[in-house]
């Protein structure tokens, strides 16, 4: 897979630590909801650092948007969130990954579970579902530390009004006054409350930090859901050449 240059055409601040980067990539072949790209930075002395970031835009959006969370020790993310400017070029390759993807033909019901910036590829799936006018029932469970760390907050609030779309948020550390959503870390009971019974055979996608994904996936299995219908994607700081997903 060849490296290409993309030009930054728009930057959007999503939260204090998170930004969306809209890129124009000549001859971009299109992507599937849930895929990612590899981004490579090269310093003047030739040192290279590479990370993997989920694509936030839906295939139907006609653009390539990444949403990146700045990590405290992130040598790539701290550049992408803070230093990158409109008009800059980024070296990237993709789209990558055929496992953690959803297409309308896969059907549903579609159960999406996001921890923190694990919302990014799931947002692409939700947007794809809405853009296609699909009637597949969709339920999103989104866990974040606080209200101001919710990415795509307004968009998700609007999406929740659409027919067949159920969105549940749990805030694990800080809640605003009058918060009506969930207020605890995800567990088996919480998942059982927001998902379909195993007999409905939902397709489950879980994305988040490793420990979050393990907890959620184990909960689905213990509730009786088929392991083969649960797809997971883990991310975390790597300090190495590969893999830190947004």
């Amino acid at each position: 897979m060849n490296w290409q240059l993309g030009t930054v055409v728009e930057l959007l601040a999503e939260t204090d630590r998170t930004a969306s980067i809209v890129l124009r990539v000549p001859d971009w072949p299109g992507h599937r909801a849930g895929q990612h790209v590899d981004v490579r930075l090269t310093a003047e002395d030739g040192y290279q650092a590479q990370r993997s970031y989920s694509i936030a835009s839906a295939p139907d959006d006609g653009s390539l948007m990444l949403t990146v969370e700045r990590l405290d020790d992130g040598e790539v993310s701290s550049y992408l969130v803070g230093e990158l400017r409109v008009g800059d070029e980024l070296e990237l390759r993709g789209p990558i990954g055929g496992y953690f993807v959803w297409e309308e033909s896969f059907g549903g019901p579609l159960m999406l579970v996001a921890g923190g910036s694990g919302i990014v590829p799931l947002r692409a799936m939700l947007r794809h579902r809405l853009a296609r006018g699909s009637t597949v029932p969709i339920s999103l469970l989104y866990s974040a530390r606080s209200h101001h760390e919710l990415i795509y907050r307004d968009e998700l609030t609007a999406a929740a009004e659409r027919p067949g779309v159920d969105i549940n948020v749990t805030l694990t550390r800080e809640r605003p006054d009058g918060w009506h959503g969930y207020d605890r870390r995800i567990d088996r009971d919480l998942i059982a409350e927001v998902t379909w019974p195993p007999a409905e055979r939902p397709l489950v996608y879980v994305c988040g930090p490793t420990a979050f994904v393990e907890t959620a996936a184990d909960a689905f299995v213990s509730l009786g859901h088929e392991p083969g219908r649960i797809r997971t994607e883990r991310f975390g700081p790597t300090g190495s050449e590969e893999g830190s997903h947004a």
Partner: protein, 84 residues
């Protein structure tokens, strides 16, 4: 610890196709599953792919000077369905 999704780009470099859906069989315990669901360690020198069930090392990938060295001794069988 991550999973096989994180090294999809590297595997594509080596195999020339998406390998996240490829099914690997562990030589340690015989478990079979897609590479996307394996346990992947990227902080090791190179990339280490382990069986999620028995922790056996399935695949090691080291890149040096533009050459990939791939050790697949922990995998008795690796099947990738030809896609479009």
């Amino acid at each position: 610890m991550l999973d096989g999704n994180a090294i999809a780009g590297t595997l594509d470099d080596i195999f020339g196709a998406d390998m996240t859906l490829a099914v690997a069989t562990c030589s340690g315990c015989g478990a079979r599953g897609p590479l996307a669901e394996t346990a992947v360690y990227v902080r090791a020198p190179g990339v280490v792919v382990r069986c999620r069930h028995c922790d056996n090392v399935l695949v090691v990938v080291i890149e040096r000077g533009g050459t990939y060295c791939v050790d697949v001794r922990g995998t008795t069988d690796l099947r990738s369905i030809l896609g479009p």
